[in-house]
Subunit: 463 residues, 2 copies
Amino acid sequence: MSGKILIVDELATNRIVLKVKLSSAYYDVLQAKTGADALRIIAAECPDLILASAKLTDFEGPTFIKAVRKLETTAKTPVVLILPSVKAEDRIAALSAGADDVLCNPLDETFLLARLRSLLRQGNIDKDLRIHAGTAHALGFAEVQGHFQRNGRVALVSRKQNKAMALFSALSASGQHAFVALNAESAVGLAEGTDVPDVFILGIDSEDVDDGLRLLAELKAARRTRNCPIIAILEPSSRSLAATVLDMGANDVMCGVEDLKELLLRLSNQMHHKHMADQMRDQLQLGLNAAVIDPLTGVHNRRYALPFLKRLIDTLDHETETFAVMVADLDHFKNINDTYGHAAGDQVLKGVASQLRASLREDDMLARIGGEEFLIVTPNSTRAQARQTASRLCRIIQRTPISVPGRMDPIGITISIGVTMAVPGAGCLAPTVESLLDQADRALYGSKAHGRNTVTVCALSAA
Amino acid sequence: MSGKILIVDELATNRIVLKVKLSSAYYDVLQAKTGADALRIIAAECPDLILASAKLTDFEGPTFIKAVRKLETTAKTPVVLILPSVKAEDRIAALSAGADDVLCNPLDETFLLARLRSLLRQGNIDKDLRIHAGTAHALGFAEVQGHFQRNGRVALVSRKQNKAMALFSALSASGQHAFVALNAESAVGLAEGTDVPDVFILGIDSEDVDDGLRLLAELKAARRTRNCPIIAILEPSSRSLAATVLDMGANDVMCGVEDLKELLLRLSNQMHHKHMADQMRDQLQLGLNAAVIDPLTGVHNRRYALPFLKRLIDTLDHETETFAVMVADLDHFKNINDTYGHAAGDQVLKGVASQLRASLREDDMLARIGGEEFLIVTPNSTRAQARQTASRLCRIIQRTPISVPGRMDPIGITISIGVTMAVPGAGCLAPTVESLLDQADRALYGSKAHGRNTVTVCALSAA
C-alpha cells in the first residue's frame, strides 16, 4: 500500500465517494463517522494522513484538529480539512488550528490526489529523519522542540516585479519573519556565504509557466536550496497547474492570495516544518559525532583512533613519508583521584586533553584511549620533529596547573610520553597498529622508568 | 551557484554556445579544450558535473570517461558525453565506459537542462549520504564497495500489456537481474512483506500520459518505493515529455528502446547507484548504533544507559509503577586478567554480557558502565521480582564457566549484584539517576562484603 488514509465524514455517501477515489489510487482507506470514532481509530491504527470533513456532528473542524494534535502518535500526521464553502475565514480558522491544508467541496480529484501525494511524500522524509534523530535523542541530546513559533528568513521570487513588490510590502508589514525579494538568478545562484532563506515563496505567472516550473525544479535540485520548502503562488486562472506544481516538489500551493493571513499561516506551517527538519538533521550529525568522541574530554575516542591509525598506515607509500605515534600518560594520576576525588580527577583529564589539543596541529590526531592515556598521531613528521613536539607537550602540561572546583590552588600535573615512528616497509617490516602501539607503549615505560615527565623515542623504529 | 559544470570540447564555438546556455541557468561554468586539460581542472576544481564532447583531440570519449573515473575526487561525479551521431553503438560504448548519460548534437536545450538538474539533484542526495557514511567508515566499518556489478530485482510497470510483455521476455532472456512485470496497482500498492524491487522500469504511453505521470509521482511518494530509481520509457513520439519526466523525479529516461543493450546498461547504472545508496544508508545506521553500543560486549554503553534511566524516572507517575536498578560486578576479575591475560579477561566480559542479555526480558536494559561493571534496569518490576531476577542472574553466571582461546578448561566466574527500587516520589523524595546509582552501588558493596556471588537489595528504597 502506498499509504493509510482515514476519512472522517458523517455522511456515508461522502465517505463512499472518497473511498472509491482513494482506493483507485491504491491507498488503504479507513473510515470514521464522528470525531470521537476518528480519535479511537487514530489511536489504534496510526493512519499516515487524515482527511476530515469540517462539519462533524460532535466536533467543529478546528476543534477536531486540535484533538488530533494532542494524541502523541499523530501529533505530526498530516491533516486535511474539507470545507463546505470557499470562505477565506474558514480556511484561516482551519489552518490556525493546525490543518496542513484545506480543500473545498466539490473536490477536484486530480488536485486532491496530488495534494495527498505531496503530504505523504513529505511525511515519509520526516519519518526517516525522526528515526535517526531518535537515536540521538536516546543519547540524551535535547529532543526536537516543535512547540513554539519561530520567525525565519523568507525569499520572494517572481518575474513580475510590480506584483512581487506589492506582496513583499504587505508581507514585510506583517511583522513576522524577515523577507527578501530575489530575482531568479539570485535565488538559484545564491553565492556561497550568503544566508540561505528558510522558505521560498515562488510566484509563477500564467504567461511564463515554463520558466516558473524550471525555477521550481532548479531550487529543488540545487545543493543549498533543496531542503527549503517552497510555496508556489499561481494566478487564480492557473488552477489546473496546481497538481503539477505539487508533483514537481512544491510543498504548498495557492491560486491567488485572497487574504494575506492565509499566506502567513501557510508560511508559518512551512517555517515550523523547516525548523523541525533542520533540528533533526543536526541531531543526526550529533548522534554520529557521539560515536567517535570521548564524552569526558571531547577529544576522539579509541574507537575512532585505531581505524584512523590503520588508514594512515595503509596510505604510507613513499620512502620519505613518515609519521609519529605517541602514547602520553598522566603521571601519578591515581594520587590525584585518591587525594582530591574523582570529580577533580575528571577535571584534570579534561584540562590536559584541552592543553594537548591546543598545542597540536589541526591534522594531528588526539584521542583518549584509556583511563589516563592519550594517543597522539602526527602525520608528516620526522623523528626530530616528533621528539621536539613531544618535549613541548611535556613542558606545556608541566607549566599549566589545572584549576578544579572547590580548591583554591590549581593542581600541578606532568605527563610521560613514548614515541615511535611509522615508516614504509614491506612484509614483516611493514608497521601495523599493534606493532606501533606496542613500540610506543615500551617507549612510555622507558619514560616512566626514567623519572617521568619526559620523552622516550623508540629505538626500534627506523628513519 | 546551483552547481559547477565543466565543459570539455576542442571547439571554442561549441564551448561558448554551451557556456551561454548553462550560465543563463545559473551554473558556474569551467572550460577545457582537451582531455588532459580537463583532468587537470577536475583534480583542482572538483566540478559537480562534467559535460564532454566525445571527440577530443587527445582522448576517445570512453577512454576519457575511464580516466575521469580513476581520479579519486571525481570517481562518482556525473559525466555526460555529447555524441556527434545518434548511433546506438556509440551510446552503448559511452555507457559501458561509465557515462551517466549520452546526448546527441544538436542539443535540445530544455532536455539538456532537465537532465543536468536531475543528475545534480541525485548527486546532492548522494553527497549527503556519503558524508554520513564517512563517519561510519571512520569507525572502521567496511567502506562502501562500488566496484563490482550486482544483479538485482527489476519491476516493469506499464499499461500496455502486449508491449510490456515483449520487453519483459527480451529482458528476462538477458540473463541479468530478476525481472517481474507489475500492473500499476501492484507497483504502488506493494503489500507489506513483498520484496520491493531495486529499480522500476516505467512505460508511459503517449495515449495515457497523465496516468503515467501520476504513477511516477506515486512511486516517488510511497514509503516503500521512494528510494527506488525509476527509468521511464516514453514512446519515440513523446520526446518533448522527457524533460518533465526527469523533473518529476525519474532517474533516467529513454524515448523508445532501439537496442536492448542500451536499456540493460542504463539499468546497471541505476542498479549500481541503488546498491551504493543502500549501503550508505546501512552505514549511517551502523554509525548511529556505534554511538550507543559498547564495542567489546555489544551491549549498551554508559552513554546510552544514563539518559535511558533518566527518561524512565521522568515517566514514573503512578503509585503502582516501580522499576529496579541493579549494578552487577564481576568478582575477582583482576585475578583473571593477571592469571590468564587481557585477551582472556575480554572473553570473560563478553561471555558474562551475553549470558546476562540472554537471561533478561527484551524490555530490560543492560549496559556495561565500567570496566567489569554492568547496569541492569528492569521496568515494571516489584521488589520481590527484582530480587528473584538478580538471584537468577547470579546462579546462571556461576553455573556457566566461560571458554577462552588457548585454555582447555573454561574459566569459572561469579558476579555480585546490588539492587535498588525506583518508586514515584515528590520533591527531595523523587529518585534521580545519581541517587539510584548510589543506592545500587552501596547495595553492591554489601554483596561484596558478604562473600560475593550474592544479591543485596537496598533497604532505603521504598515499595
